[in-house]
């Protein structure tokens, strides 16, 4: 088998492509297709029979839901930890805190949809922790997933918003960002799982092992993720 299909959370845009590139250079002749989306969307699709072999979620809840439903095999494994930042393409955010988002100069605040994008859920946690969730409601615009949310900010349509740190630190990213203290939200235990569809795919298992290897972890770090010392089963 030379071809597998991977479903990945939208925050992995870039980093996963890079990892597959390096994997490919070591395993010529194999093909790994990636589909990005919000973790919730991908989970629902897998539940409905979408033929993905591996699922990279932005958190650990969605992979666990798949395991519970019998749509995935084995335990979800954490491959990285994700953090959120406040990012703007046009403003200097030095010293800006989440509390200050109520200021009138921020007319539009972009977040991912908390209903099915883990990054959105974390953004909501941070806003609630700051006590401004209700106050900023009229300014909130939601992206379907974190990548679309980043687009709202990148194109200037929203002056500011919450994105994965990886987006704000990517080489092409313009503007400035400030880190949101991890005390204000639960950092994302980004986990992946082998799906029912991929249960017998040797290539999938091999690729999953590769992702946990040191080379891949280096790439994650390079793109702004945090990598746990040991890729141990979550919980």
């Amino acid at each position: 088998q030379t071809k597998i299909s991977v479903a990945a959370a939208a925050d992995l845009h870039g980093v996963l492509d890079r990892i597959i590139e390096t994997y490919n250079s070591e395993h010529p002749g194999v093909q790994i297709d990636v589909v990005y989306g919000s973790s919730g969307n991908l989970t629902t699709q897998i539940e409905q029979g979408a033929p993905f072999d591996v699922f990279f979620s932005a958190d650990s809840d969605f992979p666990e839901r798949l395991v519970r439903n019998g749509k995935a095999v084995g335990k979800p494994l954490q491959y990285a930890e994700g953090h959120i930042v406040l990012w703007s393409a046009s403003m200097d955010l030095k010293g800006v805190t989440v509390q200050q988002l109520t200021q009138p100069r921020f007319t539009r605040i972009a977040i991912a949809n908390p209903a099915h994008a883990p990054y959105g859920k974390r953004s909501e946690q941070a806003l609630r922790a700051a006590g401004v969730w209700d106050a900023v409601q009229p300014k909130i615009v939601m992206g379907e997933n974190i990548a679309q949310t980043a687009q709202f900010i990148r194109s200037g349509n929203a002056q500011i918003g919450f994105v994965a740190e990886s987006f704000a630190r990517s080489p092409e990213a313009k503007g400035s960002y400030v880190v949101v203290p991890t005390s204000m939200y639960q950092p994302l235990k980004q986990s992946f799982v082998l799906t029912q569809h991929g249960a017998n795919a040797a290539l999938a298992k091999d690729f999953m092992a590769y992702v946990q290897g040191s080379k891949a972890r280096a790439v994650f770090v390079q793109y702004g993720f945090y990598v746990p010392e040991i890729a141990a089963p979550v919980h």
């Binding site: 919000s38 919730g40 969307n41 989970t43 629902t44 539940e47 839901r65 539009r108 972009a110 949809n113 209903a115 099915h116 909130i140 615009v141 939601m142 992206g143 379907e144 679309q148 687009q151 709202f152 194109s155 200037g156 349509n157 929203a158």
Partner: protein, 225 residues
């Protein structure tokens, strides 16, 4: 079956408001355009025909992509609006109206054009000899004679706007009461795994729509008989 939440009701009403606004505006501008396209054989009208039809073949995501760039604060329309101290259009109801009008224009113009082309010149000539000027002829001959086409245009325009998802996804921002229309709300429920709520919402839309369509069909046949 899940409950019909206040948020869902809001999405429902917003959708109807959007579709109604867009349909009325489109009928108003679509009729003269369709008439022109139906009866002129000049070069400009042919090119215009193709331009009007363009949104037909553009995926909503393409349209949304360009609209976001064009209407956003860095786009030239966005800059123009900002210089006039107007809000930029993305993430607003007005923005959805503009986008949906662009998107649904051909769906209104095409059926109108089809019926207009089917109306022979004779009826218009007769009306002229009976003293009816151009506008009068339009209202007293063309409109009643092309009634089925107008109904079709309105239904297509309305429906296409209700069903619009891609463009709204790109430039809506999912704002309750402003840009969170039904299609988005259902998608959200679905993605969140809230099948019951998705089902309630979808079913209510199906029932209401079907009732409206059926009524329209029965009325339309009555009018013909």
């Amino acid at each position: 079956m899940g409950a019909f939440s206040a948020a869902d009701t809001q999405a429902f009403l917003l959708t109807l408001r959007l579709a109604a606004t867009v349909t009325l505006l489109l009928l108003a501008i679509g009729m003269p355009i369709a008439w022109w396209l139906a009866h002129s054989r000049s070069w400009p009208s042919r090119v215009a025909g193709a331009v009007v039809a363009l949104p037909l073949v553009l995926p909503p995501t393409v349209l949304g992509f360009y609209l976001l760039l064009l209407l956003g604060p860095n786009g030239w329309i966005g800059k123009m609006m900002a210089s006039m101290h107007l809000d930029t259009l993305p993430f607003t109801f007005k923005g959805l109206v503009v986008a949906s009008m662009l998107y649904s224009l051909p769906f209104v113009v095409q059926p109108l054009q089809g019926t207009f082309e089917a109306i022979g010149r004779r009826s218009l000539e007769v009306a002229s000899t009976l003293g009816a000027g151009p506008l009068d002829r339009f209202l007293s001959v063309i409109v009643p004679m092309s009634w089925p086409g107008i109904v079709a245009a309105a239904v297509l325009g309305f429906a296409h706007t209700i069903g619009e998802f891609g463009v709204v996804m790109m430039i809506g921002g999912n704002r309750p009461g402003e840009t969170r229309v039904m299609s988005i709300a259902i998608y959200d429920h679905f993605e969140a795994g809230e099948f019951a709520q998705a089902n309630t919402l979808a079913l209510s839309l199906v029932v209401v729509s079907f009732a409206a369509l059926l009524a329209m069909y029965l009325l339309r046949r009555k009018a013909k008989a």
